[in-house]
């Protein structure tokens, strides 16, 4: 195991985060704060609570998930896309590092960054609304699992993308809609029975539901199913990454 290699990649990526602090940490925090101001404080004050939770508090887990998903994907996809774009990937490819070590470095750094971000948003949210976390360990588990899974997904997108447009395409066209429609701002029980069924095909529903359960002990779908679906998605991403390195897809001629 090339521990020094993993550390080199991890530290390199974290240094990139520090250099782009404003973009990486501050801007998601500002946009999330705006959500709280608008939906939590301004509109939420006029709304009834959902499942016995005040609306402002209800959206906290969904908002953290929203940032977690989009940031994990953009961090990880950019992290691996950029070396491909400028050509510095040659060094990674010629180094004695295994695919697992490369992924551990890049995805580990992207996930760490997302987890830090999620924690900051959680703290920011606390300034606007009061809430308690019913199952803190599960909360951390869902946070970490989601960050890792979607950083892996971002890594795959970064490898697949051969221009900047594609890099933005999947997050913009798929992930953001799925997250908004995945129950960030509402409980899926508020939908008509037909749409409740349709929504169950949205993987993000399970992430948000499970994460919200860890806060308030209430969920749209069973927490076991949430966990299971998250693990399934993690498994799919791992499989794809394994295939990428085996075939050299978009990495090696």
């Amino acid at each position: 195991m090339n521990i020094h290699g993993i550390r080199a990649i991890y530290r390199f990526e974290m240094a990139r985060t520090r250099r782009t602090l404003l973009q990486s940490i501050v801007s998601p925090v500002i946009s999330t704060s705006l959500y709280f101001v608008v939906f939590g404080a301004a509109i939420g004050a006029h709304m009834n609570g959902i499942d016995g939770v005040s609306y402002g508090a209800f959206i906290v887990p969904g908002l953290i998930m929203l940032s977690l998903l989009t940031q994990s994907i953009s961090n990880a996809s950019f992290g691996i896309y950029f070396p491909k774009f400028v050509g510095t990937i040659y060094e990674i490819l010629s180094a004695p590092v295994s695919p697992f070590e490369i992924v551990a470095g890049y995805v580990g750094a992207a996930a760490s960054k997302s987890i830090i971000l999620g924690t900051i948003i959680l703290a920011t949210a606390r300034l606007f609304v009061t809430f308690e976390i019913a199952h803190p360990l599960w909360m951390v588990a869902f946070l970490v699992l989601t960050a890792v899974t979607f950083s892996l997904f971002g890594f795959i997108i970064g490898i697949w993308a051969d221009n900047f447009e594609k890099l933005q395409l999947v997050p913009l066209l798929i992930v953001t809609p799925l997250t908004f429609l995945g129950g960030s701002f509402y409980s899926i029980h508020m939908l008509s029975p037909l749409w409740q069924k349709v929504t169950l095909f949205n993987p993000v529903v399970y992430l948000i539901s499970g994460f919200r359960w860890s806060f308030y002990g209430v969920s749209d779908v069973g927490v076991g199913i949430s966990l299971g679906m998250t693990l399934v998605f993690l498994g799919i991403c791992l499989g794809l990454v394994w295939w990428i390195f085996r075939s050299g897809y978009r990495l090696k001629a």
Binding site: N2, F12, K252
Partner: protein
């Protein structure tokens, strides 16, 4: 002695169908400087890229330091340093960080003293805290070399190291390459500057259109280089070489206008003075004369043309 790099029946056909390398065999000896010469697109970079793990081979195998570069990539790659042709750098990193990164990536524990030495040897020490983006092209090239040396490789690949490099850096680089060889590092450089190969290499390989058409000791090539010719433009044509000139290595051109004398430039006496005196005695006048040397370039051009 076992070769440090052993290429066997290695070939590469890209997905586009372009055959960049026809099956190649090549053995690099430990501790030598090997120059791979060839025109653009000949397959030099493809060959290096396969050895370094950047391109997958279509067929054949490569051993580096006795380790298969695909199956035992870890052992093989940790001995290899690569300075690629293009200046691809992380613009916002400092020189120190980017060189330290390379060392870590190749599995070596941090060693600030060693990195300091590498940077000093390459006259980069004063720039250690500069961001890459602020460096000149020549300085970036030095950093690329520092990165390749950061993990103390036994084998160093220099892909077109002096392309677009000024005279000073070129001289520094040659000094450095010699010092590295003296410390036991094997160096493989590609170039299309023939004088560079002439100056630096112990052995030279010529590659063209994916084929390795010649691998020879430079000394042997230099023997072929040592031949010089004196061409005399005659005042009036000759029908044949006069009997009085027999014994000199002379040739007469088809139109009888030119006498060509071939001699060994390395020899103590070229024999030119004797020949010219003899011509004067025989009353053969000439209006012009020139000498020429068959260079590695000529040999190279001939070789490449022969195969075309």
């Amino acid at each position: 002695m076992q070769p440090i790099i052993d290429v066997r029946q290695l070939s590469k056909t890209y997905a586009s169908g372009f055959q960049a390398l026809k099956p190649i065999d090549l053995q690099i000896r430990q501790g030598e400087i090997f120059a791979l010469l060839g025109p653009n697109g000949a397959g030099k970079t493809t060959l290096i890229s396969i050895v370094c793990g950047i391109v997958n081979p279509s067929a054949g195998s490569v051993l580096a330091g006795g380790h298969d570069v695909v199956r035992e990539y870890r052992a093989a790659r940790s001995q290899i340093g690569l300075v690629p042709q293009e200046l691809t750098t992380d613009s916002f990193e400092t020189v120190w960080n980017t060189v330290s990164f390379s060392r870590g990536l190749f599995g070596k524990a941090p060693d600030p003293a060693y990195i300091e030495k590498v940077l000093k040897d390459l006259s980069l020490w004063s720039k250690k805290d500069s961001k890459m983006i602020t460096l000149s092209g020549g300085m970036k090239r030095r950093v690329m070399i520092a990165k390749a040396l950061s993990h103390e490789p036994r084998i160093l690949f220099l892909d077109e190291p002096t392309a677009g490099v000024d005279v000073e850096l070129r001289r520094d680089m040659w000094t450095m390459v010699r010092a590295l060889r003296a410390s036991g590092v094997t160096i493989i450089l590609t170039t299309h500057y023939i004088d560079e190969a002439e100056e630096m290499a112990d052995r030279i390989g010529v590659i063209n259109k994916g084929e390795l058409i010649l691998v020879q000791d430079k000394a042997e090539l230099m023997n072929r280089l040592g031949r010089r010719q004196l061409t005399l433009q005659l005042q009036s044509p000759l029908a044949a070489i006069p009997a009085g000139l027999a014994g000199h290595a002379l040739e007469l051109s088809a139109d009888g206008q030119q006498l060509v004398y071939t001699f060994d430039a390395q020899a103590e006496r070229s024999g030119i003075d004797v020949l010219l005196r003899r011509l004067a005695e025989l009353g053969i006048d000439f209006k012009d004369l020139r000498t020429s040397q068959s260079s590695l370039e000529d040999i190279f051009v001939d070789l490449v043309r022969e195969r075309a």
